[in-house]
């Protein structure tokens, strides 16, 4: 695998596209169904919490320039901790991609490929990601940089076009299902920004390590803005009590939009763009799985591993009986796994590593003072 450093803009695009895919999928509707009309407040709240998380990570990584969470784990607990953290990351990435792929292919099947088996759709998505991974992160990052503005522009059009259908009253009651659902139980909706886990792995890939802060904040700003906008627009268009069967929230919005008499079926064009965006997301996820494996092991070539992981992703996305089973797993198991690992376990490692660093430094200073 070709591991080369990526530029600041490319890193921002990578992180943004990872988080944008959650918006394209059913996330806005899922947030609305758990919090009701207060979804917009909840989403602002979780974006605020994400900013706190990002600032904390930046602060904690300051003493470890050019080091990612795996290097820091090694520093803290040796090879075993590094391997353990790495494996958890791989498992989480694989499960997340698996669920995203399953949800997305189910949606595509219901819209366009009623006659085709879901495996057929999956093969296209995973196959292209697998091929892209043969060219390494540089190529993937460049493609992502090209497509990210187009994808975000398309999302913006989709979100703002049904402006005539917006009903401001749908923001009320302000606290939706209640204070608890909005601000306490609603914290779990930070899962929407679980793409932040990639922020912990990106420092070692950056060409300019000092731009890490910029990368983390800008990518969170972009995805936070789009998350808030998508939740607000979905809430303003559809009553929160409705829970439609469509998996793609944005696709729902395109259906209520009117683009004039001349333009027909624009949603298909958006679907084309979002397929590219999903492939980019799978490619990035697959790359990080390979990258972590390479870091925690002595494997030099990842060509075979690329095929193996692609196969695993295929199995993980094909294993679900139906969308309800997938949704249950995603909402009740995977969500909390990710929350615990990304937002609790990783900061904990970073804090311990900082304490160790401070302790080691103070010991070194005492020893040098004694020597003098």
């Amino acid at each position: 695998m070709n591991i080369s450093k990526i530029e600041t803009a490319q890193a921002i695009a990578l992180l943004s596209i990872v988080m944008a895919n959650k918006i394209i999928l059913n996330l806005p509707r899922s947030i609305i169904s758990s919090t009701g009309s207060s979804a917009w407040l909840n989403v602002i709240y979780i974006v605020f919490l994400s900013f706190l998380f990002v600032f904390l990570v930046i602060k904690l990584l300051k003493k470890f320039p050019k080091m990612d969470i795996l290097d820091i784990s090694e520093y803290l607990g040796g090879k075993y901790l590094k391997a353990a953290v790495g494996i958890i990351f791989i498992v989480i990435f694989a499960l997340t991609i698996g669920t995203v792929l399953c949800g997305y292919s189910e949606t595509l099947k219901s819209i366009y490929f009623n006659q085709s088996p879901i495996l057929y759709i999956l093969l296209f998505l995973i196959g292209s990601a697998c091929i892209a991974n043969k060219f390494g992160i540089k190529a993937i990052a460049k493609v992502t940089t090209i497509i990210t503005p187009i994808v975000f522009f398309s999302i913006l059009i989709v979100l703002l076009t049904p402006i005539k259908s917006f009903v401001i009253q749908r923001f009320f009651p302000l606290l939706g299902y209640g204070f608890n659902e909005t601000f306490l139980a609603g914290i779990s909706n930070i899962f929407a920004l679980s793409g932040l886990s990639y922020i912990l792995l990106i420092p070692s890939l950056l060409k300019e390590s000092e731009s890490y802060k910029k990368v983390a904040i800008i990518s969170l700003c972009i995805s936070g803005f789009y998350l808030i906008l998508s939740v607000c627009c979905t809430l303003l268009v559809f009553p929160f009590v409705l829970s439609p069967n469509e998996n793609l929230s944005l696709y729902l919005l395109t259906k209520v939009s009117n683009y004039g008499e001349l333009i027909h079926g624009v949603n298909t064009i958006f679907i084309l763009l979002w397929i590219i965006s999903v492939i980019a997301y799978i490619s990035i996820g697959l790359f990080f799985m390979l990258y972590i494996t390479q870091k925690i092991s002595t494997i030099k070539s990842t060509i075979l591993l690329n095929y193996c992981y692609s196969l695993i992703l295929l199995v993980l996305s094909y294993v679900w009986k139906d969308y309800i089973q997938l949704n249950n797993f995603s909402e009740h198991t995977l969500k909390y796994m990710i929350l615990a690992f990304v937002f609790v376990f990783n900061p904990f490692i970073l804090i311990l590593a900082n304490i160790k660093k401070r302790f080691t430094r103070s010991q070194t200073t005492i020893a040098s003072e004694r020597n003098t």
Binding site: F113, I121, I146, H264, L272
Partner: protein, 548 residues
């Protein structure tokens, strides 16, 4: 006997006389040149020129097979120097030299007694070679040769070489006079506003065009030889002080480290020096236009001229270069950018239109207005084939017409058009083999593909177009999206001489390598991906007359 054969041929069956020739397998590799001379037994290869004129003569006769090669001309004569006669001979290839030059400025001064070759001087007597070089031959381009390798090279290039008895040095006279094509208008890169001269096959003519147009002493043209057998002259040109030194070294390294027997065109060299030879994307610019080469040289790129090829290579070549026309820089930036936008649309359609058509009609019918959908359905009603076969047939036919159009002699060119338009267009629709809408789709695709300025990129997109047809048929927009992603990844992974293939897309600076051409007065910077030594090509205020 003849009569018997005649009778037999009339009244009886005669077996056909079949030529039973087969090329035998070579069991031994013969030496590159048979030097077994029956008269002089010169079996060893000579490296250095011998002092014995006869030995040199026999060696050259053997090497050039002078007994069977009628165009190898050897002229024995007696040379006068310091009033002493010396046996000498000249050797050249008939048709490659100017006979008048040889007669008037080589043979006449050496053979005819005159003041300069009869005057006696002790000093001159001691150095015959210097006397010939300095006094006897009034030639501007004369070189002393010591090795036979150089002698062969000079003779093969159209020079005349003089050997003199008692001298272990030969004299090379540049008296080339072979017929060559005159500088003509470009045939394949036609533009309205711009220079109307093109490169020719002769290397020196091409270098002289560049010298004349650049008009700067910093233009460096470095010669090298490629091909062990053909020893093809290759010139590498760059502007010292602009082009990056590492880039120059890399080009020289690649060109000079080729282990090939022959190079006959720049197309062959291009394939041997590009970064990813297996990639179908062109990575080296090939042009017949000197103005295009000059623009690139001034931007910090390097040109490679191959003797015998009217196409000059320019490296590095990035994707945007293959979408640009030489005319873009000569037009007002608004016109040029409009043209570029049209070209971009054309390229997108040439690549995706048949694939999109197949995807929309098979999977995404909601994209079409209902009336159009009905029209398509009605037009396809009598067509017996599935849409994939239909489009594949038409595309293949179109490619056949294009290929045939290129290969047939020009007087028959119009016939191909008639056959294509009438038989494949009208007749196929009348016979209900294809639908009329498909004809429109294929025609638009063909028209768009002609808008791609680069010949090689046209090929690339033709191959990709077939892939998109297959992908569109297999999975509609899903297949096309997957294909687009992989294609973009392939393109992003490519490099040309260290420059990322799609780099200028991300560039914000004002250079000629951007997709959109900046106004002439704002082309301040040279392309940054080339890392030239001279960063700017004009001052901050290029139009000083406007500055108060």
């Amino acid at each position: 006997m003849d009569l018997l054969f005649y009778i037999k041929s009339i009244f009886s069956y005669l077996k056909n006389r079949i030529q039973n020739f087969e090329i035998p397998m070579c069991t031994e590799v013969p030496p590159p040149n048979n030097c077994n001379d029956s008269h002089n037994n010169i079996s060893n290869e000579l490296e250095k020129i011998s002092k014995k004129c006869s030995k040199n003569l026999n060696y050259l006769k053997n090497k050039y097979r002078a007994d069977i090669c009628q165009d190898i001309m050897i002229r024995d004569f007696n040379l006068h120097s310091c009033n002493i006669q010396h046996h000498a001979f000249i050797i050249y290839i008939d048709g490659m030299i100017d006979s008048n030059l040889v007669n008037d400025f080589i043979l006449s001064p050496l053979m005819i007694k005159n003041k300069s070759n009869t005057s006696y001087n002790k000093k001159e007597l001691s150095s015959l070679a210097d006397n010939i070089y300095d006094s006897l031959v009034p030639q501007n381009a004369i070189k002393k040769l010591y090795d036979f390798k150089d002698v062969f090279s000079s003779i093969n290039m159209g020079d005349c070489v003089l050997f003199v008895d008692t001298l272990d040095v030969a004299f090379d006279f540049d008296v080339k006079g072979f017929k060559q094509r005159n500088i003509d208008a470009p045939h394949n890169e036609i533009i309205v506003r711009g220079s109307q001269e093109a490169f020719v096959e002769n290397l020196r003519t091409n270098t002289s065009i560049l010298r004349r147009l650049i008009n700067n002493e910093n233009l460096v043209i470095q010669d090298t030889i490629v091909g062990k057998f053909t020893k093809t002259s290759v010139a590498i040109g760059y502007i010292d002080g602009i082009a990056n030194k590492s880039l120059i070294s890399e080009v020289l390294r690649r060109v000079s480290s080729l282990d090939v027997d022959y190079i006959t065109s720049s197309g062959q060299l291009e394939q041997l020096i590009q970064d990813s030879p297996k990639s179908i994307f062109p990575q080296v610019i090939a042009t017949e236009r000197p103005d295009k080469v000059i623009n690139h040289l001034l931007d910090g790129r390097i040109c490679i001229i191959v003797n015998g090829s009217p196409y000059v290579l320019v490296v590095p070549g990035v994707f945007v270069d293959f979408l640009s026309s030489p005319e873009d820089l000569n037009l007002k930036y608004q016109f040029a950018n409009l043209q570029k936008l049209i070209r971009l649309l054309a390229i997108t359609l040439a690549l995706l239109l048949p694939g999109l058509y197949i995807a929309i009609t098979n999977y995404h019918q909601e994209l079409l207005p209902t009336e159009l959908l009905f029209t398509i359905a009605a037009s396809r009603e009598s067509v017996p084939f599935p849409i994939f076969i239909e489009i594949f047939l038409m595309e293949a036919s179109f490619e056949l017409i294009r290929e045939a159009g290129l290969r047939v002699p020009s007087p028959l060119g119009s016939t191909i058009g008639i056959v294509g338009a009438l038989i494949l267009g009208e007749a196929a629709v009348s016979a209900s083999l294809v639908s009329p809408i498909l004809i429109i789709i294929v025609a638009i695709t063909g028209l768009c593909s002609f808008s791609i300025p680069d010949f090689s990129l046209n090929f690339t997109f033709r191959i990709y177009r077939f892939l998109y047809i297959i992908l569109g048929y297999m999975a509609g927009f899903l297949g096309i999206a997957a294909g687009l992603f992989v294609q973009m990844a392939i393109m992003c992974n490519l490099q040309s001489f260290g420059s990322p293939y799609i780099n200028p897309f991300a560039s914000r600076q004002r250079s000629i390598s951007n997709f959109f051409v900046p106004p002439t007065w704002k082309r301040e910077q040279k392309s940054d991906f080339l890392h030239p030594y001279k960063k700017n090509s004009q001052g901050k205020y290029s139009m000083l007359w406007r500055k108060k």
